[in-house]
């Protein structure tokens, strides 16, 4: 059973602007969570080191759980909202080649980026049912997409990828 393009076959061409599917979006989200946590941890370590260097005191966020939680929530909000409003995609989305646009295809506004970021946790809080629309709706809307009036589409240039794939093969002789 074929589930995806095999290594021997070129990537499927021309998906730019098509609604992105659940797997790609899940991979992008996982990559974003990983990236945002990595950045947060590094920033925290850097901050702790700087404070220790200046004041000689150890910073221990484990004993300040509420503060840590607020910091994480704020950071995640900034991470997603800033990137969506700036470019319509996060690092994870750029990695897998998808982006967020308005339902009519226009770039999203900063307001839509903020609404999407704020309502994203809602899709989790209702036992993940907010994401079921990605599988069932014809425009692959999740709950936070519907509330922010956005959709997620493929943005990578599969045509160029196909040409690269063809180019890497030995030139064939004309018939």
């Amino acid at each position: 059973m074929t589930v995806a393009s095999s290594a021997a076959a070129p990537p499927e061409a021309g998906r730019q602007g098509n609604y992105a599917g659940g797997v790609t979006r899940l991979v992008a989200f996982a990559a974003d969570i990983g990236a945002s946590w990595a950045i947060f941890t590094l920033a925290l370590a850097g901050l702790g080191f700087a404070i220790n260097l200046v004041t000689g005191k150890q910073v221990d966020l484990a004993s300040r759980q509420i503060l840590a939680l607020v910091a994480i929530i704020l950071w995640e909000f900034v991470y997603f909202a800033y990137q969506w409003s700036l470019a319509g995609k996060t690092m994870g989305m750029a990695l897998v080649g998808i982006r967020v646009v308005a339902t009519d295809g226009d770039p999203i506004t900063p307001r839509q980026a903020v609404i999407r970021t704020v309502t994203l946790p809602l899709s989790f809080l209702i036992l993940g049912l907010g994401f079921i629309g990605i599988l069932l709706n014809k425009d692959r809307h999740a709950l936070h997409d519907r509330l922010a009036k956005t959709v997620v589409v493929y943005s990578w240039d599969a045509r160029a990828a196909r040409l690269r794939w063809l180019a890497q093969r030995e030139p064939t002789k004309p018939a």
């Binding site: 609604y19 992105a20 797997v23 897998v96 069932l136 063809l166 030139p171």
Partner: protein
């Protein structure tokens, strides 16, 4: 001067009569019908075109032509404006071109690396899995997505020309 007196007037008379007769004959004859009856193929087959051409000094002919003057009179801009570049590009089989020429090597050198190859592969796998999942969901729900929009109207309308695969989304 005529050898006999009155010859000049006779000649004029004969000429005017001949002219009148010829006009009457031409009026009476249907030239088009006459030409239609001529077997042009037979006529042309008797013409030694090679012989005629061989007698022509093409070099001398070309030397007499002022090519620069002709070129100066050509409105290249007008010709370019009349060419439908989009249509020309659509007729070019880029895939075949890339496969058969060194253009492929140039593109490979300029655009591909290990990272971009891996990225392409990951993305292609993602798209494949998306389609696989959507196909199974549709199968379980016993529905068809053939008439569903594949994406936002503005983005689909501006999709690259001639790119296959934008027609359906499972």
């Amino acid at each position: 001067m005529s050898p006999l007196p009155g010859t000049s007037r006779m000649e004029q008379l004969v000429e005017s009569i001949a002219e009148r007769v010829v006009n009457l004959v031409l009026d009476a004859v249907d030239i088009n019908a006459l030409v239609g009856q001529v077997d042009m193929d037979a006529v042309l087959s008797k013409v030694d075109v090679d012989g005629i051409v061989s007698k022509v000094d093409v070099d001398a002919l070309v030397d007499r032509v002022d090519v620069q003057k002709i070129i100066d009179r050509v409105d290249v801009q007008a010709i370019i404006e009349r060419v439908d570049i989009e249509q020309v590009i659509e007729r070019v089989d880029i895939d075949s071109l890339v496969e058969r020429t060194e253009l492929g090597t140039i593109i490979a050198r300029s655009t591909s690396g290990v990272a971009s190859g891996v990225l392409d592969a990951v993305r292609a796998q993602g798209v494949g899995l998306d389609d696989f999942l959507a196909r199974w969901v549709n199968r379980i729900l016993r529905r068809s997505s053939a008439d569903w929009p594949v994406g936002p109207a503005k983005l689909i309308a501006s999709a690259p020309v001639g790119v296959p695969g934008t027609e359906t989304t499972p």
